[in-house]
């Protein structure tokens, strides 16, 4: 088999980025993979390319890699850089953070008037150290993605020049609901503070503005201070990450300014209309773990996944199900007092049913199901992790004016 063509292809890819590679060596590597290890030729080519990428500290670029090589050294605004692009940018180092690994010399955030991006300078790149607050021209860096967030990589082929002047740079805060992964600016109020879930965590909680809410985290680091609940802050250059489909603000890199006054905050409330099309198992009357701060639902054998058998459980009511408007189906979780008003069965009555009926807790499930399934309701609540936690709900009433409007609409065009 002939490997020269594939080897040629690979070496071309790297010469674009200014790296000299030995075609004969590549050919040898390919031959070894295919002949000795029975690797598919296409896979071998990919793996050799990746190996070289690693060698030159070039992140494995996305789909565009070779195809977009023509854009090398093209000067771009930070906001225009897409993963896989080779870019030259001019920006201000607005934050430096502690490198996460010894192979990283420096990491932080660099910004221009179009936006901001995280950067990483590899130790191997021998790049000059940049100072926070100064402007630099960075040539031939690579944009890639790390954990779904664009990231600028400074490797050995990158040149960095300091720009003497200090240009003005003021980011504009965005509404919370429009935030996306990357670096962002917000103006919001701290509406909740949560128990730290990790010993390295300084503070976590919820930040809100009139458009929505977002979780924030500050990790312990010298010079970092807690935010005050109820205060309004303008925050520049926060890192916005996504975890389990939820956005979260990391404020360690951010510039934070406390403000006077108050702003209106949306409770993150949403309203969903539809019919209940499914009541899931685990609805009705349930037992909860009595250990303080646990409150997990117990299994039928009164078993808590953390605290094991708990004979002194606490009863609770809930309904888990799906609310469907014909276009989209919403996962809903209805809390006790709402279950009581929706089904007309109180917790005490449910206990009676569960304790005096041969079917026990299942009987409560069945009675509640028959009372709510197929009914039209409007739910209000907060949406968390794709599930609406319902704290208020009402049955839909027949609206004669809607009836008349629909009759007109249906009759009008025929």
């Amino acid at each position: 088999m002939d490997y020269s063509e594939a080897a040629e292809r690979i070496s071309r890819k790297f010469s674009f980025s200014g790296q000299a590679v030995d075609v004969k060596k590549i050919e040898g590597k390919l031959r070894r993979l295919v002949d000795e290890f029975g690797v598919q030729p296409q896979e071998a080519e990919r793996s050799v390319t990746n190996e070289l990428n690693k060698e030159f500290n070039i992140p494995a670029a996305g789909s565009g890699g070779g195809g977009r090589a023509g854009s090398t050294n093209e000067q771009k605004k930070i906001a225009e850089g897409l993963p896989g692009d080779w870019v030259t940018i001019e920006g201000k180092v607005v934050a430096l953070s502690a490198p996460a690994s010894p192979s990283i010399a420096q990491s932080g955030i660099i910004a221009d008037e179009s936006g901001a991006i995280r950067f990483v300078a590899w130790a191997k790149s021998n790049a000059p150290a940049m100072a926070e607050g100064s402007w630099y021209r960075i040539e031939s860096a690579v944009v890639d993605e790390f954990k779904g967030v664009p990231n600028l990589k400074i490797h050995s082929g990158t040149t960095i020049k300091e720009i003497g002047e200090d240009r003005s740079l003021i980011p504009t805060p965005m509404p919370i609901k429009d935030l996306h992964t990357g670096i962002g600016a917000v103006r919001g109020k701290v509406i909740q503070e949560w128990d730290a879930s990790h010993e390295r965590m300084l503070q976590s909680g919820l930040l809100g503005d009139e458009t929505g809410t977002i979780k924030f985290v500050i990790w312990k680091e010298p010079g970092r201070e807690k935010l005050v609940v109820g205060s309004v802050y303008t925050i520049f250059y926060a890192q916005i990450d996504e975890f389990n489909g939820r956005l979260s603000l990391n404020l360690n890199t951010a510039t934070i300014m406390q403000e006077e006054g108050d702003i209106p905050v949306s409770g993150g409330e949403s309203e969903v209309w539809g019919s209940i099309v499914h009541i899931a198992p685990g609805s009705g009357i349930i037992k909860r773990c009595p250990v303080e701060g646990c409150n997990r639902a117990l299994s039928r054998q009164n078993y808590c996944p953390i605290h094991e058998i708990q004979p002194k459980f606490v009863y609770d009511l809930r309904i888990k199900g799906w609310l469907d408007d014909g276009e989209k189906t919403h996962n809903i979780l209805i809390q006790r007092d709402v279950v009581e008003s929706l089904t007309g069965i109180t917790l005490d009555e449910a206990k009676q049913i569960a304790e005096n009926n041969p079917l026990g807790m299942d009987e409560v499930f069945l009675q509640m199901r028959d009372k709510v399934l197929g009914r039209y309701i409007i739910c209000h609540g907060r949406e968390i992790d794709g599930r609406l936690l319902v704290n208020e709900c009402e049955r839909v009433k027949f609206d004669a004016s809607e009836h008349a409007a629909l009759l007109n609409r249906a009759g009008g065009a025929s």
């Binding site: 489909g245 099309v277 014909g326 028959d370 197929g374 009914r375 039209y376 009836h403 249906a410």
Partner: protein, 199 residues
């Protein structure tokens, strides 16, 4: 080959439940085309509504007028649910034990809310037969029935409007599959259904 995370699904395990379409009996009766999305054994099957919307699940409220138990070894229940425009044929077998028990306990006539999967069969004589495999069926009151008629009428009119706009892929598919059906008949059916609600 792309390794760009943006080309991959946003989040693994992010489950989207198929919505339950609101459809009148007169429209479901006209369905002749059923298709599967994807090659997987568990890929959802859709019935294409003549107004140009795919439907893997439907929600109907009507009157259960009859039910019958059938089969010796494999018991299943059949029923007829009537709305202002026609009749739905519903069924629940031993693979839907909960739905079967629910249906078994209901004595017709009663208003019922049915959530189920539409199915298209072709009889040996070539005639098409639409039935609904019940996921759940509960007795409801007349208010819920009236609300459903409003809901079904509104969503039918919405579908007819987007059919007339004619750009959605499923609308184009519907025009190919149902060349002889004029969706104006469904607008008419929605009007008749609404007119039957007494003020």
């Amino acid at each position: 080959m792309s390794t760009n995370p943006r080309d991959m699904p946003r989040r693994e395990g992010a489950f989207e439940r198929e919505p339950a379409r609101r459809v009148f009996a007169s429209e479901l009766r006209e369905c002749r085309y059923q298709f599967k999305e994807g090659e997987d054994e568990k890929s959802p099957t859709f019935v294409l509504l003549p107004t140009g919307e795919r439907s893997n699940r439907i929600f109907i409220v009507g009157t259960l007028t009859e039910k019958s138990r059938q089969g010796e070894q494999n018991i299943f229940y059949r029923g007829r649910v009537v709305d202002p425009t026609g009749t739905f044929f519903v069924m629940a077998g031993s693979y839907q034990p909960e739905a079967m028990q629910q249906l078994a306990r209901i004595e017709p006539p009663q208003f019922v809310a049915v959530i189920g999967k539409p199915n298209l069969y072709q009889k040996p004589d070539g005639a098409f037969m639409n039935s609904v495999r019940i996921e759940s069926i509960t007795v409801v009151d007349k208010d819920t029935r009236d609300l459903w008629v409003l809901d079904a009428a509104k969503q039918t009119l919405d579908r007819v409007d987007s059919f007339n706009a004619g750009t959605a892929p499923d609308v184009i598919k519907a025009k190919e599959q149902y060349p002889t059906i004029d969706p104006a008949v469904f607008r008419r059916a929605a009007y008749d259904a609404l007119a039957q609600i007494k003020m």
